[in-house]
C-alpha cells in the first residue's frame, strides 16, 4: 500500500520528523483507521528514497507515542488513538497550514487587513460554489 507522504526538500524539518507528522495527520484525518496496515520499513524506504534507518526512527517514535503498533512477524498497524487527541491534532494541522499561508503573505508584504480580507473572499467564494 502506498502512503500519500510527500517529503519537502525545502523544509528544515528533519525527514524522520516529516514522516512522523504526516502519518499522524493521516491518522488524525481518518485516512488511516485503527488496524490499517502500514508499509514495511524497507518498502517505505524504497518509495520515499531514503534510508531504512530514518524510517525505523520515525516508526519507533510513532510506536512510542502510541500511534502505531508492531507485532512480530505480522507487520505494523495503526493503533487505537484517543478521539480527543485526533481532534486536537486535526486542528493543529489546520493551524499549521494557516501559519504557512500567513508567512507567505508576509513575504509579499501583506498587512493583517489584507490577509483577513483574502480569507473572507475565499470563504465567500467557497460558499457560492
Amino acid at each position: 500500500m502506498n502512503l500519500p507522504i510527500r517529503l519537502s526538500k525545502s523544509s528544515r524539518e528533519p525527514i524522520y520528523h516529516q514522516i512522523e507528522n504526516q502519518i499522524k495527520a493521516l491518522i488524525a484525518s481518518g485516512q488511516l483507521a485503527t488496524g490499517d496496515p502500514l508499509p514495511s520499513i524497507r518498502l517505505l524506504a524504497k518509495e520515499l528514497e531514503i534510508s531504512s534507518i530514518t524510517i525505523r526512527r520515525a516508526y519507533q517514535n510513532l510506536e512510542y507515542s502510541g500511534f502505531i503498533q508492531t507485532s512480530q512477524g505480522k507487520g505494523t498497524f495503526v493503533a487505537e488513538v484517543d478521539p480527543a487527541m485526533k481532534t486536537s491534532m486535526a486542528s493543529q494541522a489546520v493551524e499549521d497550514a494557516i501559519s504557512k499561508a500567513i508567512s507567505i503573505a508576509r513575504q509579499h508584504e501583506c498587512s493583517d487587513e489584507d490577509i483577513v480580507r483574502m480569507v473572507k473572499t475565499l470563504l465567500q467564494k467557497e460558499e457560492n460554489q
Binding site: K9, S10, I15, S40, R42, A45, S52, I53, T54
Partner: protein, 290 residues
C-alpha cells in the same frame, strides 16, 4: 556482538595504485552502496573481501573469522557476484544451479526458481549463448539461490532492462525483510542507490570513506538561492556557486549564520539531489563533514 563483516586498517598497493581502508563495520540488516568512478578500486575492494586479492596489511573478518585463516568455511556465508561470470561459458544455468546447490548448504531452491521464472531466464542454454543482460540475471538468480547472510554485488544492474531491474530491487527488498541479511552493492545507477542503500561508502583515488548514512549525508548539504550575489568569492560552507546567486553549501549552519549576519536574503532553499552530492564528492574530492 559479532558483525557480519569488519575491515580494519587495510592497505593494498598494485603498481601505482594504493587502496587504504581505515575501519568499516557492516551491520546486519543493512544495505551499503559502494560508490566510486571507474577504476577507483571498487572491484579490488570486493576481491579483497573474498580473499581473491591479498591485502598487504590489515584484517578482514566475516562473522568474526579472518578471511585469511586456514578454515575457509566463511565462504559459505557470502554470495559474491563479480562483474563477469568467469569459467561458466560451457555450462547451462541448470548445471550451474546443481553445482551451487551442492557447495552452499543454505541453498534455497524456491528463491532461485522464483527469480529465474519471473525474468524468463533460459536455464537450458549454455552461458556463452546468453546476452550480457541475461548473464547478469542468471548470475543474480544463482546468488539469490545461495541464500547466504551476506550478499556482495558488483554492478548487478549494469546491463539489465528496466522491468528486470525493478524486479531485482523488489526481490532484494523482500529478502531484506527478515532483517538478518547484509548487502554490499557497487552501482553506478543513482536509482539503485536511492531506492536500496542505507549507507554509502565512497572509494575515491584509493581512499575509502567510513560508512555514511544516506540521509545524514544528504542533509549535510544545502542549496541556497539568494536575492543578490554575495560580494565575497567564497562564503562559509560554500563549495559551489552557479548563476552567481545559487550557493551549494556543505556546512548549512555556517552558511546561514553568515547570510543572516550580512543581511543577504535567502529566496529559496532545499537539500540537493543525491546525484549532485555524489558528483561533488567524486569529481571535486569534496570533504565530507558528516
Amino acid at each position: 556482538m559479532t558483525f557480519p563483516l569488519t575491515i580494519r586498517n587495510i592497505e593494498k598497493s598494485i603498481d601505482e595504485f594504493h587502496l587504504n581502508i581505515q575501519d568499516l563495520t557492516f551491520e546486519e540488516g543493512t544495505i551499503s552502496a559502494i560508490v566510486g568512478t571507474n577504476g577507483a578500486g571498487k572491484s579490488t575492494f570486493f576481491k579483497m573481501l573474498m580473499n581473491l586479492v591479498k591485502q598487504d596489511n590489515g584484517e578482514i573478518e566475516v562473522f568474526g573469522h579472518s578471511v585469511r585463516g586456514e578454515d575457509d568455511a566463511w565462504k559459505q556465508q557470502i554470495a559474491y557476484q563479480a562483474q563477469t561470470m568467469i569459467g561458466c561459458d560451457a555450462f547451462t544455468g541448470e548445471q550451474l544451479r546443481n553445482l551451487m546447490a551442492e557447495v552452499y548448504p543454505s541453498w534455497d531452491e524456491s528463491l532461485f526458481r522464483r527469480f529465474s521464472e519471473k525474468l524468463n531466464i533460459p536455464l537450458n542454454k549454455k552461458v556463452q549463448k546468453l546476452s550480457p543482460g541475461v548473464k547478469t540475471k542468471l548470475n543474480l538468480a544463482l546468488n539469490f539461490g545461495k541464500n547466504t547472510p551476506i550478499l556482495m554485488l558488483d554492478e548487478p544492474t549494469a546491463a539489465m532492462d528496466i522491468p528486470s531491474r525493478n524486479y531485482f530491487i523488489q526481490f532484494l527488498l523482500e529478502l531484506m525483510e527478515r532483517g538478518d541479511r547484509t548487502v554490499l552493492i557497487a552501482s553506478h545507477q543513482a536509482d539503485d542507490i536511492k531506492k536500496l542503500a542505507d549507507y554509502l561508502v565512497f572509494i575515491n583515488k584509493g581512499s575509502v570513506t567510513r560508512l555514511l548514512e544516506k540521509d545524514s549525508l544528504v542533509s549535510s548539504y544545502r542549496l541556497f538561492w539568494l536575492k543578490e550575489e554575495p560580494q565575497v568569492s567564497r562564503i562559509p560552507g560554500e563549495i559551489k556557486r552557479t548563476y552567481k546567486k545559487v550557493i551549494l553549501s556543505n556546512h548549512p549552519e555556517a552558511t546561514m549564520a553568515y547570510l543572516s549576519k550580512n543581511g543577504l536574503v535567502i529566496v529559496d532553499e532545499q537539500v540537493p539531489e543525491l546525484e549532485d552530492i555524489i558528483q561533488e564528492i567524486l569529481m571535486e574530492g569534496e570533504m565530507i563533514n558528516v
